[in-house]
């Protein structure tokens, strides 16, 4: 019948476009893998444990970048999670009704500021402040490995602070959604048993615990891939160091800085291999985060209407 033929054409045509999206993901993975073959073949697993990044002698070890990415993201999560959760709790539970919209909007404003503007602010405003703080740190604390090194202003500490600020809105908006959808019965049950406000909140968080963890991981995924702001304040030195003072390097930053200059094939392939790893890590983190959030939301059954979704997609 004509209608069913039309329907089949419709399904097929729109399906092609959908397949394009699938092709994109697969394509990115494939091309990144294909264009890093030289490096994979030459270094194999040692690529991930090697500490020396020497384009002159052709020796490439990516450990400093992996360390830098993981350490900076971890620090950023340590700083941002309490703040983001605090904001989520405040907005959804504690704030006066009138403040809710403006506060929500203001936190989302943090996500709207482009990375390069964060970088600008980081270089001209945050770095001098951090340098002054580094100088002011008492000498007894300076002996600890985490605070050792000359006070440059740029370094792991500054990068962690900027990353934390950038990540807060993502974690906080998802956490807020989770909290909003916790069934009222949970809280009311807690109050009925004589809980204080904070204890009731803890119950709500406990109920949405998986989703909150998912929200945190969403922020982590964002921190792992951040490029511009980090590269302007982290010092760009491929070394593995615990110190917040020390200039270090992340995977995204080294790609941004050295991609246009990789003069020989091996160098380029090594950089692309780092890009491949970044791709894989962020996918894994994001998938886990989405699974956690999705399973929590399903448990809470209420249909999530589109404004949070649109903003969540925008935030994510």
């Amino acid at each position: 019948m004509r209608r069913s033929a039309d329907d089949r054409i419709f399904r097929f045509t729109t399906g092609i476009f959908a397949a394009l999206v699938l092709l994109l993901v697969v394509g990115i993975g494939f091309e990144l893998w294909r264009q890093s073959m030289l490096s994979i073949a030459k270094f194999g697993f040692k690529f991930w444990t090697g500490r020396v990044w020497d384009p002159v002698s052709g020796e490439f070890g990516a450990l400093p970048f992996i360390w830098g990415t993981l350490y900076s993201s971890l620090l950023a999560m340590l700083i941002s999670t309490p703040i983001a959760l605090g904001i989520a709790i405040y907005i959804s539970e504690l704030s006066p009704k009138m403040l809710r919209q403006p506060l929500t909007y203001l936190t989302e404003l943090l996500a709207a500021i482009p990375s390069i503007v964060y970088g600008l602010w980081g270089v001209f405003v945050l770095t001098p402040i951090v340098r002054k703080l580094e100088i002011l740190m008492p000498p007894t604390l300076r002996k600890l490995p985490i605070f050792s090194g000359p006070p440059l202003g740029v370094g792991m500490g500054t990068a962690a602070i900027i990353l934390a600020i950038m990540v807060i809105p993502f974690t906080s908006s998802v956490a807020r959604e989770i909290l909003k959808n916790v069934p009222v019965a949970q809280r009311e049950g807690a109050y009925a048993l004589g809980a204080t406000r904070w204890e009731a909140i803890k119950v709500a968080i406990g109920y949405g615990k998986t989703g909150v963890i998912g929200a945190i991981m969403l922020g982590l995924g964002r921190a792992l891939g951040e490029t511009m702001a980090v590269t302007m304040v982290i010092g760009n030195n491929p070394q593995v160091s615990l110190s917040l003072y020390a200039p270090q390097y992340t995977m995204a930053a080294v790609i941004a800085n050295e991609f246009t200059e990789a003069a020989d094939e091996l160098y380029l392939h090594a950089l692309i291999e780092i890009g491949l790893l970044l791709f894989i890590i962020t996918i894994v983190v994001n998938v886990i985060s989405r699974l956690l959030i999705w399973s929590t939301k399903r448990r809470m059954t209420r249909v999530i209407v589109f404004p949070p979704v649109a903003k969540e997609e925008a935030a994510a």
Binding site: P150, V154, N236, N237, E258, T260, E261, A263
Partner: protein, 347 residues
């Protein structure tokens, strides 16, 4: 179907941009864009040259992106740009692995200076090659080290940690610096070597000459190497360096020109020569040529013609602007040799 119309609108807008001519923002003249990339070292003088040249030739626009010498070489070899610019000449291996023969053309002379930030020290510091090598190797770590004090008698040096600043991108300025340090310190030559991008034993990386001079100007106790004009523009103090004749010389137009004068007589045919640590009196030891790289037989003859014309202009009119920006003009013998070499480009 409003959405369809919306999409059509966007596509139409794009289609309009695909006009065959690259229309300029002025009279709708047909303008050819030549893309080049490379060193940050000569960026100030190149940007002035390209701007002046465009004023004299409104049908040409040379788009130069300063991404570092390493980037210039790479993009030229990948043929994504028409010409490259570098302060570190291409190595034999690089030339061999290029898709076609590439020629080097010196444009100006510049100096790399040791810029430092010591807030309470007003006297101008002196450095030697071996001392700078030891600092960059991480062996000398404090400003009041005996090695520094010996060369700078009578100067009250603070008990401050030395913060080394180097380039994080592939840089010809790094090449010149490492070239000088390798010539004066065998240990540096062995441990680090000479290239546009090396495995630095110590220090912080900054992007471009601008990044290094910016970092030095902001962090007390730091020392970095930058092209002379960047030190001047950023108001950063820089020191004198000991040359092969034992004198401590500051980078000036005269001392840089002196460095090139001795080599003019023995200039190799491909212009790839290092003039660091040159012999002679009054020579500034960390001087260097900077080159523009072009394919000897470019497939794009139109752009080839434009660049050859530009080079001839740069070697005559352009040299006059060099001094005002802190670069030394090329010795006349080198200019003459180059004009001959330019004719070898097959158009």
């Amino acid at each position: 179907m409003r959405k369809f119309a919306f999409i059509l609108l966007i596509v139409a807008a794009c289609a309009k941009q695909e006009a065959p001519t690259e229309a300029g923002a002025g009279p709708a003249a047909k303008r050819t864009v030549v893309t080049g990339a490379g060193a940050t070292f000569p960026y100030p003088i190149y940007s002035k040259w390209f701007s002046d040249y465009a004023k004299a030739h409104p049908d040409v626009a040379v788009n130069y992106q300063s991404i570092g010498s390493g980037g210039g070489i790479k993009q030229l070899m990948a043929q994504t740009v028409f010409f490259g610019a570098t302060d570190g000449p291409m190595t034999d291996e690089q030339l061999k692995s290029a898709p076609a023969p590439i020629m080097h053309f010196p444009t100006v002379l510049g100096a790399v200076v040791p810029a430092y930030n010591l807030p309470n020290v007003t006297a101008e510091l002196k450095f030697t090659g071996p001392l700078l090598a030891d600092m960059y190797l991480g062996k000398v770590t404090k400003w009041n080290d005996a090695a520094i004090a010996k060369i700078n008698p009578g100067v009250a040096l603070p008990n401050l940690d030395i913060t080394i600043v180097h380039r994080s991108d592939g840089s010809g300025t790094s090449y010149i610096w490492c070239d000088f340090l390798s010539k004066t310190s065998p240990e540096f030559k062995k441990k680090v070597g000479v290239a546009t991008s090396v495995n630095w034993p110590a220090g912080v990386g900054a992007k471009g000459n601008e990044g290094v001079s910016g970092m030095v100007s902001q962090a007390p106790g730091s020392i970095g190497y930058v092209e002379l004009i960047y030190a001047k523009q950023n108001d950063v103090t820089y020191g004198a360096v000991q040359n092969a004749a034992g004198e401590f010389v500051r980078a000036t137009l005269e001392s840089v020109t002196a460095a090139a004068a001795s080599t003019a007589a023995t200039m190799p045919a491909d212009f790839r020569v290092s003039i660091t640590n040159a012999a002679g009196k009054g020579v500034y030891p960390i001087s260097s040529f900077t080159w523009i790289l072009m394919y000897q037989n470019p497939t794009d003859k139109l752009r080839g013609r434009i660049m050859v014309d530009f080079m001839n202009w740069a070697l005559s009119d352009g040299q006059k602007a060099a001094a005002s920006l802190g670069y030394a003009p090329l010795p006349q013998q080198v200019i003459d040799l180059e004009k001959q070499a330019l004719e070898k480009i097959q158009l």
